[in-house]
Symmetry: C2
Subunit: 320 residues, 2 copies
Amino acid sequence: MALPSDPSALVAAALDGDRRALARLVSIVEDGRPDAGPMLAAAYPAAGGAYRVGITGAPGAGKSTLTDGLIGALRAAGDAVAVLAVDPTSPFSGGAVLGDRVRMQDHVSDDGVYIRSMASRGHLGGLSAAAPKALALLDAAGFPWLLIETVGVGQDEVEITEAADTTIVVVTPGWGDGIQAAKAGILEIGDVFVVNKADRPGLRDTVSDLKTMLQLGGERPWKPPIVETVAAEGAGIEDVREAIATHRRHLEETGGLADGRRRRRIGELEGALAAEYRRRAGIAVAAASGGGLVEAVARGEADPWSAALRMLDAGGPPAR
Amino acid sequence: MALPSDPSALVAAALDGDRRALARLVSIVEDGRPDAGPMLAAAYPAAGGAYRVGITGAPGAGKSTLTDGLIGALRAAGDAVAVLAVDPTSPFSGGAVLGDRVRMQDHVSDDGVYIRSMASRGHLGGLSAAAPKALALLDAAGFPWLLIETVGVGQDEVEITEAADTTIVVVTPGWGDGIQAAKAGILEIGDVFVVNKADRPGLRDTVSDLKTMLQLGGERPWKPPIVETVAAEGAGIEDVREAIATHRRHLEETGGLADGRRRRRIGELEGALAAEYRRRAGIAVAAASGGGLVEAVARGEADPWSAALRMLDAGGPPAR
């Protein structure tokens, strides 16, 4: 059957469980089509029911395998699951470098599972600018669980924390051998730590190293549990699901869930404002290109920072 | 002797070779003090003479040791060198997680060497927002060489390319064992590849792996050389210096140097505009907090993206 071409009919179909309509809607938003805004606004009121779990960690830690295991566990409990897998953009192909998504394809024929890959355009390894919008759509489509998987490097570690209610950091034995600086960012963001490939040598050192570093962070209302898994064999997956549930209860009981979601939405608003400003700044610079001030900056004759203030104060906001 | 307290006298002293005045100036800019803008604007016309070399790579690859070797080689050739080392911010301490800077301290008594560490606040592992300003100051202070060292993860790989004329990517033998996706970003940005710790097993595989991946990128005007070093023993450092010089000649002869610097300055202007916009956006959201639209977004009743457009179109630019 053909998809509805009318925007509001397409949105209605997507919210009514039509997976092809949902896929189309996510594509429209990802491509930044002009009609994306109204469609997103139409779908948005249906969102808010999903619980979001972020899954991050170094390449090769087994994030996809763990995600696959969680899909199975949540499906076994009767819940529908949507997955947003954000992959680094290849500088050569321009497209997403797909990781180990093969296993997840087992779920393709299951209508209670929806899996979407997204390239992190302009954010090497980070969340795509379109990701928060796609998550709102998946939420509105009625999935009670959203799993967000990203490669954990740099900036996106922070972004996934902001996007998720519970953030899982996946490491492997031997991870403790790296330098401290590389670990600091990851320790800050994890609500649950998973040591995957726990059948490999070095497990005990890694777990005790993690414990020590978490204790250095001082007393906090939530003490992140450390769960050992061999995701490829399904071992420990139930423990991860239980750890997520425990963290969720903690957030619900302390009011942290509502607070975190308020902060997330305010952050999305600030991000949306800044993105729109940045777009208009690009238009303003392009429009003024060859003009006095921009050319002076390009030649190194005026410093960019005071030039920016002068442009803003002189011209008001760049046109839409 | 006391530093001049008058802003223009402080700038004059810094440009005249007073290293303590320069250090003070960089601190003022890094801290974002209100008088930083005029001081930066006053120093900026003296900038433009420095050649910028970015040095990035995974933690433990030996970037600091290589940087130290390059300092020695450039000093031996009679040139002054400034180093900006951008370190990840520790989420626990709030300060910079200093890497292996011990060796570099050998140069502390040499007035022809200036070394500065900077925390990458708000950019885990990436360049600090203050870094481009600090680089402009070091440039204005008359150093013919600026070395910019960052931990190479994610977004900062792109940022360092934009900040540098020549970008050096440092890897070690065994690096080729990771998954392709993790390498793609690094391959795109390197003008010179250094395989450090070349006395370790796996050198040949890593070099041939690098060559293959670079060839996959297709024909390009500049073919990045692969240089083998054992930086801790000083081996290969002269080859790195020669590779930088060759790339510099290539850029000068093809006009790529001037083009790249124009692009960099325009990028700095756009970044400055966007940063100022973001600052004003934060102010606008804070000012409107509790007001109808922001509160509706916080409650999940209005979507952040159309709310942002409505705020912009209704209110004009947020106040300064």
